[in-house]
């Protein structure tokens, strides 16, 4: 096993309060205009990430999980995205969407990001080495000479065999697994306080998925940076995250410690998702969540899950709030209304 190289933990600049959440996102609402009408991608989402915490965001396609994680550093270009509302507080300081200069300093330094298709997240016209150097240079890393050592070391830490030759290769010349591990290395190089991974294993073949997952678990154990892992695969999130947030039709529907959620999910959608993923069978047939994923341009009134919910009742044609059902646990369903779910 490679001993943990000297990839320094993020050094705490003096004067910044080390207590309090690392990132606080409150009331995020993002919409897209499309030929089929206004798409409500994310509706009033509030997430807080503590320091050195791993949070999993789980949701199916169209749940808004990717838009949410990207909005943590106002990444989505608008147009086409439209930030209707939302405030972000990072590392104790407000991060207004208008402060382009400060956002650019946070992007890639405070927050590092890893994308779903790693090979496509590198520019096909440049070698991997020059793109890594470019990212470091933008954050004041000085000449390549004194950084190369650390780059090679970090690449080896990420299980890249022969990092020297990988640096000279073009993105399309390396495998998906290698590309993903290089992008993780690049994110780590800039010593981020928060690492966001948007479906890091989805586009990989099985063996590469194992490699990337093992690497993320190692980063989680050996690094002090917080991690946001976005995925549609519950097993992936269960292995890495401490806390998990379930999203459906652009809203958070359930949130809580990962073992709690897996042991006794409260929201009907979470229950359905877990049953489907575990391929539980009832009377010889797989557990089935009826209906279609929601059409974000034509959301039904009230709870978005109502059309597919077996336990829907009259009250569900209003939008339930996010009830606090236990310390650190929330659920957006009237069934969990502390005042009793009167029909």
């Amino acid at each position: 096993m490679n001993a943990r190289p000297d990839v320094p933990a993020p050094d705490e600049p003096a004067g910044v309060t080390t207590t309090g959440p690392l990132l606080e996102m409150s009331g995020l609402t993002v919409r897209f205009s499309s030929p089929a009408g206004e798409v409500h991608a994310v509706e009033d989402v509030s997430i807080s990430i503590a320091r050195n915490e791993a949070v999993g965001i789980v949701g199916e396609s169209g749940s808004g999980k990717t838009v949410t994680c990207m909005s943590m550093m106002w990444l989505l270009p608008s147009p086409p995205a439209r930030y209707v509302s939302g405030r972000i507080n990072f590392d104790g300081e407000a991060l207004p969407r208008t402060d382009e200069r400060r956002i650019r300093r946070v992007r890639g330094a405070g927050i590092g990001m890893v994308f779903q298709n790693a090979r496509l997240s590198f520019d096909p016209a440049y070698r991997l080495g020059s793109q890594i150097a470019e990212a470091l240079r933008v954050h004041g890393a000085g000449r390549w000479g004194d950084v190369e050592g650390r780059v090679l070391e970090t690449l080896r830490y990420c299980n890249i065999a022969d990092p020297e030759s990988v640096l000279r290769q073009f993105p399309h010349e390396v495998s998906g697994g290698v590309a993903q591990r290089v992008s993780i290395a690049l994110a780590l190089l800039i010593r981020p306080k928060l690492l966001i991974a948007d479906e890091p294993t989805t586009a990989l073949d099985l063996l590469s998925q194992l490699e990337v997952l093992s690497l993320l678990e190692r980063v989680r154990r050996e690094m002090s940076s917080s991690l946001v892992l976005v995925s549609h695969d519950l097993n992936v999130v269960r292995r890495i995250a401490d806390r998990v947030i379930i999203m459906y039709a652009g809203r958070v529907v359930e949130e809580g410690p990962v073992e709690d959620i897996f042991a006794h999910p409260q929201h009907p959608y979470t229950q359905g998702l877990l049953a489907s993923a575990a391929q539980r069978t009832e009377r010889g047939r797989l557990y089935e969540l009826p209906g279609q994923p929601p059409d974000l341009a034509a959301l039904p009134p009230g709870c978005s899950f109502r059309p597919r919910c077996a336990r829907a009742f009259a009250r569900c044609n209003h939008m339930p709030p996010l009830y606090a059902t236990a310390p650190g646990r929330h659920c957006r369903c009237f069934l969990l209304d502390p005042r009793g779910a009167d029909d």
Binding site: M70, M73, L75, P77, P79, R104, R105, V106, R107, G108, A109, M113, F115, N117, L120, S121, F122, D123, P124, A125, Y126, E134, A135, V138, H139, F170, P171, H172, E173, S183, L186, I190
Partner: protein, 317 residues
Amino acid sequence: MLTYLAQRVAAAVPTMFGVSVVTFALLHIVPGGPVVAMLGLAASNPAAVAAITRDLGLDKPIWEQYLIWLKRALSGDFGMSTEFHVPVLSLVGPKLAHTLLLTAGSLVYAVVLGTIIGIVAAVHYRSVFDRAAMFVTLVGASAPVFWIGLLLSYLFAIRLGWLPAMGMTSIIGGSSPLIVLEHLILPAFANSIISMAVIARIVRSSMLEALVQPYVLAARARGLSRTRQVLVHAFRNVLPDAINITGLQVGFLFGGALIVEVVFAWPGVGYLIYSSIQARDYVTLQASVLIVSAVFVIVNLLADMARIALDPREQAA
């Protein structure tokens, strides 16, 4: 990579062969045969017809004539111009240089302005600039080159008098490069408008596609500035397409130059072809078409090589 280039060069040879056959054939489908066409009115005198036929070896079988013609063409001998009674090559050679100059001038306009408009329109997608630029370029591409030339000539040369309206050199100023450049501005710009429109639209659509690619979003996530995302990453990947289109545009610019030369009396091959049409000087016409096409094939080849050199994926493919 070299094999790919060798292939491209090899592919150009049959093309050139095809071009020579087409241009040679053109001379022979003239109604009444080439001789009658060349002699025009004097064709009524059978002795003259017989003399020319023997002289040009037109009595030999067609393919033999082609071989003779091709051998002489390769050695630069395209026969005598019936209008100016000088070897065609001496006529076409210098004029070709002037046409190349005019084409190069319009190419610079088209590429520089077209690319800039394309990039800015893509970055400010659906903005006022984008809509205006697309409308103006569409109108520009829908107007005849000579009409635009006349309008520009009327406005800037005749009414405002800023620029010369005719020719390449002025009697008083002589033919210093500055004077030539001054004469070049109007015709080159007139000729460039259609190609500028095409390049702008293609650069814009390629840029729109490139700007939404994951690697641009990733660059943004790494804290790169918007300019760097647009130019260093997005445009760098559009460059090979832009060069490819520019290569193809050279053909249009050649064609346009031939017509613009007539409007601005620019002493190029176009003007020569125009006058040789009037004078029924088929030998010159045929040679001009062949030479211009040959230059065009070579230019296309160069554009192809430039595109490959710039696109690493091409090299691997």
